[in-house]
Symmetry: C2
């Protein structure tokens, strides 16, 4: 197996931080065929101990990346997506643990995805990229861990599609995972969540700039992707949160252009301005084809796939498991997360459930720092 | 005032049915300026009595039309949108009442809307159509009623945007409305509902075939409109309903093309096929510009507009009022409908509230015939 390792190290504020990437030979994919070579970009914080039993794997959400923590701005919640939960003395304690986060297979932050060059053609894969699944992402992460000298995980933790990966880790590699925290994720998406996802992909593919996926970087389906993101942002929040933040206000000073540049009909509501803004932000930082593939992996995920039944899959879990639901989550209803925790427990698993009492919907796992820290503190007792 | 009346009469199954349209001079619009001439297409069932006090006005939802009841197929729920609630001996009893339903201003079923010809240019208005409001729609309906010899309504009843119209009737013309039934509608849309609406409009306007609204009939933004409809259908249902109907099934025999014609990634879920089908259906029967204007009227509606406060608006209601909420409604949460009923009552109004215990979401008012009939039976006691 050909391996390339590229690393950069930085020692700041007592946290050893490394940024790197590893490239490895093709892997078999869940839906058939081999695919590779695969590069995974990753970051680590802290140090692997001699026993190599102090590793924590953090798995990111749809448009996330490996930058879960920022050692230069450790207190800025916007500097990295789980910044405040990671660091010395924090729930994911970098003085005790060797913390790893990698960009997922299919992503566009350094890992192999649709925008990567296909070595056979020298051109980006685009829609010739294979349909990858959560299981494939997890298999690739396992290879990365091998290269980092990690054969056992003290903890796997992630939210949303990251929670799906965490669950998949506990089921696929039960012997490797000591503890698992599944945040705002379930055994499989609801029909409604698949439906929202489908509309988003249609909006992207309806944009003529998508060109069947063969767009030049930077000249892609920006309008379509912005519209997809607008819809996604609604599903990441809740009726309650939007009412608290925007209600029917029309006070925002500088209206920004809509994705379509079309004029407002009548007036501009703040909630519209907010969505336009969020659409614009994502277009600047995310690849539309990656969005198609990763959101589809989320839809396709069903932890029971390949097992005789859901129970057979869940029975495999040997980890101490914590499931965290969010009261107002539209995408992964709290009742479903709780049900999953109870199912694992009823099968003899060591599972507990905590619910975030938040109006912020699915996104609460990226906002409710205090509640998330409290929930993760249960880990110590597990 | 120039008036043209065109009528066709049909007597079937004891229900006198009339189809017609009336054209009248310009009306002042809520957001300024006069607009006209305005044509309203309408249907009536039953006969106006000598006292002209037996009229019922039915107000339709976003993509609805004047065909609320079908005298030829009175038992087919698909033959007309409120078919089973209307007819001899039914809750809206055509042997006792003179029942009227007109296509709303802005629509595309015979009433003046963006696809109508602008008499000044001889070309369709398209986006030169003015932004119309629920109040404007109601004002136009009032002119129609005058022409039908109706100066007093025994009842106004409608759901969704039709419920907004019913509420507006009771507030704007309190002296004319004896009873009002507001189904699945509130004083104003939530921020989340506006957000869903905005995404739908962006999807339409992002379609290059929209051409700033200046498309040839039949060559409009079919893909964009289908995507908008797909999203709307999600908001008309509920997580529960979609789980009951589709779950994660992939059993449907004949996959129909997606609006974008793009291939499936991995497999086709039944819920996707259903949404594609619904998108296709709407494209065949609805004008995209009408969709933009009517959905915007829905967003802009706030019954308190033009009054010092919401209470000042609601205080005007003299009708006996019934508010019907739907347990699983995503667009107009039942709690908001109940709140509105209680507010009217607390202001001294004669208001009651009934909740449909249905998993079918917002659409329940077009599906739960038995519960709707039971709810409307309260009318007799009012």
């Amino acid at each position: 197996m050909a391996i390339q390792l590229e690393c950069g190290l930085a020692m700041r504020q007592t946290t050893l931080h490394a940024v790197g990437s590893v490239t490895f030979d093709p892997l078999p994919l869940q839906l058939g065929g081999d695919f590779g070579p695969i590069t995974l970009a990753y970051e680590t914080w802290g140090t692997r101990n001699a026993e190599a039993d102090n590793a924590i794997l953090i798995t990111h959400a749809l448009t996330g990346n490996a930058h879960a923590h920022d050692v230069e701005h450790p207190d800025d919640p916007k500097a990295a997506w789980w910044n405040l939960l990671i660091g010395p003395g924090r729930p994911i304690d970098t003085t005790r643990y060797f913390v790893i986060c990698s960009n997922i297979l299919g992503g566009c932050y350094g890992s192999t995805g649709p925008s990567s060059l296909d070595p056979c053609t020298g051109k980006p894969y685009c829609m010739r990229f294979p349909v990858v699944t959560i299981r494939d992402m997890v298999r690739a992460q396992r290879v990365l861990l091998e290269h980092l000298g990690v054969n056992r995980l003290a903890l796997v933790v992630g939210g949303s599609i990251g929670g799906q990966q965490a669950l998949e880790w506990a089921v696929t590699y039960p012997e490797m995972v000591q503890k698992v925290v599944v945040v705002a994720a379930t055994a499989a998406l609801t029909a409604q969540a698949v439906a929202f996802s489908t509309v988003q992909r249609q909006a992207i593919m309806a944009d003529p700039a998508w060109r069947g996926g063969d767009y030049e970087l930077g000249q892609g389906p920006n309008t379509g992707l912005a519209i997809a993101r607008m819809l996604a942002m609604i599903t990441y929040q809740s009726e309650e949160a939007m009412e608290l933040r925007y209600a029917r206000n029309t006070n925002r000073c500088t209206p920004i252009p809509a994705p379509t540049q079309a004029a407002d009909l009548g007036k501009r509501f703040d909630v519209e301005n907010y969505l336009y803004y969020q659409g614009t932000l994502l277009v600047r930082r995310f690849d539309a084809n990656s969005y198609l593939y990763i959101s589809r992996a989320m839809d396709l995920y069903d932890v029971s796939e390949g097992y005789p039944s859901l129970d057979d899959a869940l029975c495999r879990i040997r980890s101490k498991a914590l499931f965290i639901g969010i009261r107002s989550d539209l995408l992964f209803p709290a009742a479903h997360v709780r049900w999953l925790a109870e199912r694992v427990r009823s099968l003899g698993g060591d599972a507990s459930y905590v619910e975030l009492d938040s109006p912020h919907g699915h996104d609460a796992f990226l906002k409710e720092w205090k509640q998330m820290a409290n929930a993760l503190s249960v880990l110590k007792e597990l």
